[in-house]
Amino acid sequence: MNTSLPGLAERASTTADNFEPLFWYIVAVTGLGTLLVCGLLAYCCVAYRRTARGPVSTPRILGSHRLELFWTVTPLLIFLTFYVWGVWVYDRAVQVPPDAPEIFVIGKQWMWKAQYPGGQRVIIGGNPANMTEEDRAHIGALVLPINRPVRVTFISEDVIHDFGVPAFRQKIDVIPGRYVSTWYEPNKLGVFNVFCDQYCGTEHSLMVGKIRVVPQDEFDAFIQGKGGAQGSPNPVDGSLAFKGWQHFQRLQCQSCHTPNAASGTNLHPRAPSLEGLYGQTVPLDGGGSAVADEAYLRESIVNPRAKVVEGWKPVMPGNYESQVTEEELAQVVAYIRWLKAGQMIAPNDRAPAPYGAPRVTTPPAGSSSGGKP
């Protein structure tokens, strides 16, 4: 972890790039002015200090209209340059480009939730104690594509929060009862902090989140639910793969398609593991092979006896077609596409096996506890 601050704070968006020169300009001008005043004060204190007990003699100077005018108008003009440049930066920071895609961010005590146009949901960050167990498994980041403008619309569920991103050099108060919007165009890859910048209660300081700026293809993968980009391993909430995952659990597929032995479980599987299956070539019972693509997966669900993987018995129930709609099938397939090694959850009390299904199987004598994929 980086435990020191760089001299110049990291910049990651167009607004930040607009901010920086203005900030340092004001530093330079006000710094000069301050040094001037302090210098004059120091000079006067040294040059005009009373040194001896001689007669104290000072001139009777009452003022100067010209000087007053000078040091009224000059500061005013300087301040107005700050104003004009500041308006220029502000204008570009808050005027949202008209056709930028919109992401919703919701603030509540003490976490941030984001929702994408396709329905994907991510927890950007916050206090884990305030999240449901499910939410905690979804803590990720606000994933944004690089070099693309995006509109973010905010609302609060309770009190006033503030979504502040130092790397973007801007923030916006998040209010209950009213949508407010701003926009970002990130121009640097990486992970950046989000702070809540309006005091909102006890754990205000734990309302910290992350923004992850990724290349466009990674962003597209994220939108499709491939997960990972948002920082948590689960399929992105709201995506196709996520919905497929819910059907997968509803149908209790994992009671037989238990996780790969290599992933650390010691259950002898009754069915091939599905982790990392998509795209593999599988040997079929009776010769030949098939590529595990969407069509193969769909067929394997609705007509499991059509193609049986070599080394496995044809025991998969054949009535799933009546239990899923076509749309749901597509979601399950999307989930299996997403599944990688180590990602499947073993059967447990939250997702028990159906009545009559084996819960625990003993490995056959002499074989390792793993099965073929």
């Binding site: 901010f19 005043v37 007669p55 009777r60 100077i61 040091w71 005013l76 006033i160 005091y199 209660g201």
Partner: protein, 590 residues
């Protein structure tokens, strides 16, 4: 360039003889607790405020200490307070320091004490109202203290709903009610001072001859009078919403929490000028006295106080640029804020010019004043970052803001309060304090202050939010620096508590005019008698005629305390000694 001088210097009158120390002055003309608690003497009331303010400054300081110690650790492992306790601590610090210390500070202590004396009056216009203002202040303060003791509030001093009206589980209503009550004290003091300055000036004391301290307090009173009632009604509405469960800031019924912010800041921005303008008045008094020169640009300095007061009412929404105000509102308020910065700049330049070709000595009042000039300048220019829209959208609600307002309120106002205390202490108490320790404490406070708050500018630029007990590890080193500075600052504050108290018992007796100042308040004995002046003073000239060596009554000035008599300004050569005023040449600059 034309530098204005007025008429030819008139021949000065001889300096007044040292008035005999009166047997009975305002401190010993009546004894007993009731003579203090039922007094209507403005001087005693000023001291009542002084005692209360010192107490509440200590309370607020302890809260600050807790906050800074807690910030040594960046997460729960390094904390001494829970997050909830921390939130109550910083709220207590803000509320106590602002409402119980800074807002009354100079007006209630030095304003009460010296306004009548400076204008040649026997008392303020409404002495009983004055006493009532102290009782109202104490009532509100006691209610606040009580609410702190039963757990405190955790909303921040800004009290934004819906958190404060609906979600906070702390004693918001008693605390807010306490603040509400102290507001009335502020209004009473302001009203009293304004009427006094209007109606009770002695003959010859025209507006153009008023000490700039009076101009500053007049401007402050204007703000107190017109601004405080707005926060009063805002707090009433907030309390009604919290107690009644429904109110006008509640989004559930169509209310707008941002409306609270508008109403709140409509007072609270002018309030910060209530806090700083009296300090500016003090600076004018001390700079002139310790450089033995007229103020440069009397009219500019006088009118700039009024300008700050008036324009200060037009800029409140610069606290709300990102709060949900419209684009054009933001543009307007940023522009107006640029305007309000100008009078303060004018003052700083005028003060600096006052030092030019002066004859400067560096006793404690002057050291505090010079520290004010440096720290207020830094504080003021950092305000420009926040006035500018393009930078405020990043710096808002970060430690940059915290550093900015501490620079102006502590580096500015608290130092001015210290300066005023040290300047007028001999007059109020009749005693001198240790010259060495007072100068030392000024230096220590200045150094400690710098170390405490400069790192916070860095933190703010990097985005560390305010009001955050938990922060990222990379911010920790600056927080540690800041806490280290705070401990030096705290030590610096302790010193005056010690040597000023000791001076009451062991200090040298002060003469009537130990600093050789020109104001009317110095033409009375130290301490003054009950009715200030033996006979009605008649003012014949302006307030800062140091160059020609006359006070406002036209008499000469005693020998100013110079180098060599560091610890004992009360003893000096007479007017005919080697540096006596009779031997001074007056130089007129063409």
């Amino acid at each position: 360039m034309s530098i204005i001088i007025a008429d030819e210097p008139r021949a000065f009158a001889p300096p007044p003889p040292e008035p005999p120390a009166p047997a009975r002055h305002y401190l010993n003309n009546a004894y007993g607790v009731w003579s203090w608690l039922l007094t209507v003497d403005h001087k005693r009331i000023g001291l009542l405020y002084l005692v209360s303010l010192t107490f509440f400054f200590t309370v607020g300081g302890i809260a600050a200490g807790l906050v800074r110690i807690n910030l040594l650790g960046h997460n729960a492992e390094g904390h001494i307070l829970t997050d909830d306790q921390y939130n109550r601590a910083f709220t207590a610090h803000g509320v106590v320091m602002l409402f119980l210390f800074l807002i009354p500070s100079i007006p209630a202590v030095m304003g009460n004490f010296f306004i009548p004396m400076m204008i040649g009056a026997k008392d303020l216009a409404f002495p009983k109202l004055n006493l009532a203002s102290w009782y109202v202040y104490m009532a509100g303060a006691m209610l606040l203290v009580w609410s702190v003791l039963v757990g405190g509030i955790d909303t921040g001093w800004t009290l934004y709903p819906p958190y404060s009206s609906r979600y906070s589980h702390t004693s918001v209503t008693p605390g807010v009610f306490g603040v509400f009550i102290t507001g009335f004290s502020s209004i009473m003091t302001g009203l009293n001072i304004m009427v006094t300055i209007h109606k009770m000036r002695c003959p010859g004391m025209t507006w153009g001859r008023l000490p700039l301290f009076c101009w500053a307090l007049y401007a402050t009173s204007f703000i107190q009078l017109l601004g405080t009632p707005v926060v009063a009604i805002t707090l009433v509405l907030l309390m009604a919403e919290r107690v009644g469960g429904v109110g006008i800031f509640d989004p559930a019924i169509g209310g707008d929490p941002v409306l609270f912010q508008h109403l709140f800041w409509f007072y609270s921005h002018p309030a910060v000028y209530i806090m700083i303008v009296p300090g500016m008045g003090v600076v004018s008094e001390i700079l002139t006295c310790f450089s033995r020169k007229n103020i440069f640009g009397y009219k500019a300095v006088a009118w700039s106080s009024v300008g700050i007061a008036v324009v200060g009412f037009l800029v409140w929404a610069h606290h709300m640029y990102v709060a949900g105000i419209s684009y054009y509102s933001a543009l307007l308020f940023s522009f107006l804020t640029m305007l309000v910065a100008v009078p303060s700049a004018i003052k700083v330049f005028n003060w600096t010019a006052t030092l030019y070709r002066g004859s400067i000595t560096f006793q404690a009042p002057m050291l505090f004043t010079l520290a004010f000039l440096v720290l207020f300048t830094v504080g003021g220019v950092t305000g420009l970052f926040l006035a500018t829209l393009g930078t405020d959208i990043h710096l808002h609600d970060t430690y940059f803001v915290v550093a900015h307002f501490h620079f102006v309120m502590v580096g500015g106002m608290v130092l001015a309060y210290m300066a005023a205390l040290h300047f007028w202490w001999p007059k109020m108490t009749g005693r001198m304090y240790s010259d060495f320790w007072s100068r030392a404490s000024a230096v220590i406070i200045f150094v400690g202050f710098f170390l405490t708050f400069v790192p916070q500018f860095v933190l703010g630029y990097h985005g560390m939010p305010r009001r955050s007990p938990n922060y990222l590890a990379e911010f920790q080193v600056y927080n540690v620096m800041s806490t280290a500075g705070a401990s030096i600052l705290g030590f610096g504050y302790l010193l005056p508590g010690i040597y000023l108290t000791l001076s009451l018992f062991f200090g040298k007796k002060a003469s009537a005019n130990p600093w050789s100042a020109t104001g009317l308040e110095w033409q009375t004995p130290s301490p003054p008698t009950a009715f200030n002046f033996e006979r009605m003073p008649v003012v014949v000239c302006g307030p800062y005629e140091y160059a020609i060596g006359v006070d406002q009554l036209g008499r000469g000035l005693p020998e100013p305390p110079g180098p060599g008599s560091a610890d004992d300004p009360a003893s000096h050569d007479g007017p005919t000694g080697p540096s006596g005023s009779r031997n001074k040449e007056t130089e007129v600059v063409g």
